[in-house]
């Protein structure tokens, strides 16, 4: 079993829909959680960075961490065709200065 599980998709939704992307993990010691967005033929770019449980909002994006369920989510409101990309989750242990554990990424397609 992988430490971080992420549905590869593709997930196809109409423009304007609310998108929910998810990762589950097995190690309850993870404390830091990240979402990256990767456009085709580009490197991943940091989208959201959260510590421990709770929600964090940035514009149309909300990151949610449920440590009791070992489950993290990224919500995208009012989705746009420009949101079409692969979304990767990553997480790390406390006091780790390098080791990120990655999900395999979910490909998202927003249809105009």
């Amino acid at each position: 079993q992988k430490e971080v599980e992420q549905d590869p998709g593709p997930l196809s939704v109409p423009e304007g829909a609310i998108v929910s992307l998810n990762c589950t993990y097995s190690n309850s010691a993870f404390q830091y959680f990240m979402w990256y967005r990767q456009y085709s033929r580009k490197g991943p770019e940091l989208l959201m960075y959260t510590y421990s449980s709770g929600n964090k909002e940035d514009g149309r994006f909300t990151a949610q961490v449920d440590k009791s369920s070992k489950y993290i989510s990224l919500f995208i409101r009012d989705s746009q065709p420009s949101d079409s990309a692969t979304y990767l989750c990553a997480m790390s242990l406390p006091y780790s200065n390098y080791q990120l554990i990655w999900g395999a990424g979910t490909k998202l397609i927003i249809k105009p």
Binding site: R41, Y95, N97
Partner: protein
């Protein structure tokens, strides 16, 4: 903004060649990383470096080596390229402080023929 620059976007090499991939970051970050990314396998760490001349093996170091002679520059070396090293290679950097996010370059798509 953090800028991580990889010297080549696309590279085609032949089996058995020695291949150099270069990466430069401009944020004075202590940590630098090399990953490869393959469909369905996600990001896999090859090597990372936390200081000049220091290196640590990642999850898949076999067939690779690295060099870090200056803080801003981290090189990945394929000693004798093989077809199974055809992949997307991504360089990243981060601050030495614990649990800082990593910042990526745009990758080098390497084909070994």
């Amino acid at each position: 903004d953090v800028k991580v620059t990889q010297s080549s976007r696309y590279l085609v090499k032949r089996t058995g060649e020695k291949v150099f991939l270069e990466c430069v970051q401009d944020m004075d970050h202590e940590n630098m990383f090399w990953y490869r990314q393959d469909p369905g396998l996600g990001l896999r760490l090859i090597y990372f470096s936390y200081d000049v001349k220091m290196k640590e093996k990642g999850d898949i170091p076999e067939g690779y080596s690295v060099s870090r002679e200056k803080k801003e520059r981290f090189s990945l070396i394929l000693e004798s390229a093989s077809t199974n090293q055809t992949s997307m290679y991504l360089c990243a950097s981060s601050s030495f402080r614990s649990n800082q996010p990593q910042h990526f370059g745009d990758g080098t798509r390497l084909s070994i023929l």
